[in-house]
Point group: C2
Chain length 381, copies 2
């Protein structure tokens, strides 16, 4: 009873009441008209969010399932692909591509380092790639990758973008950026529990998918596309997540409102952390839904997380794999607002004080709030 | 406001309030202790329901996803398997096995016909199969297949059983019946929305899975097993379905209570339909969660469904593919009781009267209720 629980991880995120009530609705049958109407209404709004005129397929799987579906549907064993890899989810692209038997080139950068479009261009000139696999936002570091710029230089390769922490968080207009496959999961910007993925293909990618025997029976995109024309899926769909998706897309409304909010929350967290005397992990091209904060020398981030949880009820994420203990990731996507973000920063700075005697610079929280309001006024880039 | 909606399809099924409230809970993080405790509690009860001492893996997919996971994890391209196929989901085994490149023998029977263990034994003697793929309950026809008997004669083959419409509906004790892989989906006996599958392997099947390179990156059973030891999954799990699963497993309690109820509901529907003058589609080895009723000559079952929906708010399922229009499937698994089943039969007989002038024999509903109470008293076989 002392603390409310505040979930400030970069997915799953807290759920708005509208979504929670929708999730609790009694079951309806996925082959009946009532459900099909919901599916078609969702479809219209999902296309706006994805920035595409192509269908947005619902898949019954996690984000990794959608990444698998993309690779197994768009490439044949032996096809050469380039992975732009600067974090844990870049590595996941490599693993998936190798499992499909692709000729996988790994453009590996130190985690969190900015992938310059020039470096990408140089690699793209060396080989005739069938595909480029990239994250819009690398959740493990909190960096944004230059997907738009890669879209301009991709040549004949299909650009496959993991938008799991980006769709509904920061702009990644699929058609405009020349993305050939954009995918996301339900538990991030869409403010739902995990278990549903969304995936869209460009016309060019649809042509390729139509020519290739899918690598996995469960992920048959042309078959899903055909079913979707009737508001259906080929196999049983997570009905209540689709019903919830309608509620969350209704709540989002015009996506530009979400981007403005996410930009302002990012300004709040970044300014607050910096003003308190903490070092940010990403300096350029940072994510709009998660901010990675470096731990001072000698401080174990895992301990900091534990203190924030037990003393303040604030749940943040740590670094993964090689970043474990070295950063804390404060998630601020989904159903969070300015006060939640301040709570996250308070819990973080107080936990650091308890663990290591760290003293936050006075006035950091007011500076954070000012940065937030300024960003809200000025709008996002 | 005139009618409540009654979902009497063989999945998804209606949801109990306990599950609905659990589904609506705010999100918790799948990598934190609170969630891991829930996962481990679920694990214990799921093993009782599956009748196994082996782990029961949660997979973020539909039932077809779990069927894919089984085939792609237990067999290599070229492996000979036998599919016992007497309906739409038997055909799905064939499709999945072929997509994995298996040497697939199709023991195809007319839909709904009883597969005798003798016929199965004869086929099994002809070839040294690596696997036998079968349904415990063939949902498309409402038949139970002789899985227990096949378990006795399977030889060295792995027995892979689709328990999607059976687990939590009628007994299929995995270890006792010598099943090597049993799987189910969340939207049937487990009284949850679709989107979560459960899958367990025998020790022998685990050995095989450990020796084979999985055919699809998303379905890596040995990796999932390792994660589960810590109450985890390798990729993001449908958190709220796991929380809901705990609620529904708590509600189920001792599985024998459910079997008794399902047996009695089956007696009600079968006796009621027969007493009204309708013909049952399956005469021997019928399912305990869905009853298929033949349409009188010249009557289109699809029209009957539509009348039942619009006049009475009762949603039943039709025949699939070659049975379309020829049968109506009255689902009585999950969160349904005697009164729901009577409502289904009333809607069915009245729709038949409207459409074709069919007159139900008087007294059928009392006969149905008597059969129900007698079955409850005497218990299931």
């Amino acid at each position: 009873m002392l603390n409310k629980k505040r979930l400030l991880t970069p997915g799953p995120t807290p759920l708005p009441e509208e979504a929670r009530l929708a999730l609790a609705r009694d079951m309806i049958h996925h082959r009946k008209q009532e459900f099909q109407n919901i599916m078609l209404a969702v479809q219209e709004k999902a296309r706006v969010l994805f920035g595409t005129r192509e269908p947005v397929l619902p898949l019954a799987c996690s984000g990794t399932g959608a990444m698998t579906a993309a690779v197994y549907s768009l490439f044949k064993p032996g096809d050469p692909v380039l992975v732009v890899n600067s974090g844990k989810f870049g590595e996941r692209w490599v693993e998936i591509a190798k499992s499909r038997g692709l000729d996988t080139d790994n453009l590996e950068l130190p985690w969190g380092e900015y992938v310059s479009p020039e470096v990408a261009a140089e690699r793209l000139n060396k080989k005739s790639y069938k595909g480029i696999l990239v994250q819009v936002c690398e959740t493990s570091t909190g960096a944004i990758l230059p997907v738009k710029e890669i879209g301009e230089i991709k040549g004949s390769a299909l650009l496959v973008a993991d938008g799991i922490s980006a769709v509904g968080v920061s702009p990644c207009p699929m058609d405009k950026w020349r993305i050939d496959c954009l995918l996301t999961g339900s538990q991030k910007g869409l403010m739902l529990p995990p278990g549903l993925a969304l995936l869209a293909l460009s016309q060019k990618a649809w042509k390729t998918a139509g020519d290739i025997e899918p690598g996995c029976f469960y992920f048959n995109l042309p078959k899903e596309r055909k079913a979707l024309e009737k508001g259906q899926t080929s196999f049983t769909t997570p009905v209540n997540l689709i019903v919830g998706l309608k509620a969350s897309l209704d709540l989002i409304g015009d996506p530009s409102r979400i981007y403005r909010k996410q930009w302002a929350l990012t300004a709040l967290v970044r300014r607050g952390a910096a003003a308190a005397g903490l070092e940010l992990f990403i300096h350029k091209n940072y994510a709009w839904g998660v901010t990675s904060i470096k731990m001072p020398k000698g401080v174990d981030g895992q301990k900091i997380l534990k203190i924030a949880e037990t003393r303040f009820g604030v749940y943040m994420a740590g670094g993964q794999d090689r970043l474990k203990g070295k950063i804390v990731r404060l998630g601020h996507m989904g159903w969070v607002d300015w006060s939640d973000c301040l709570a996250g920063l308070f819990a973080l700075t107080e936990a650091l004080r308890e663990e290591s005697g760290f003293i936050a610079e006075p006035g950091w929280s007011v500076a954070a709030l000012e940065a937030y309001e300024k960003a809200l006024r000025e709008g996002c880039p």
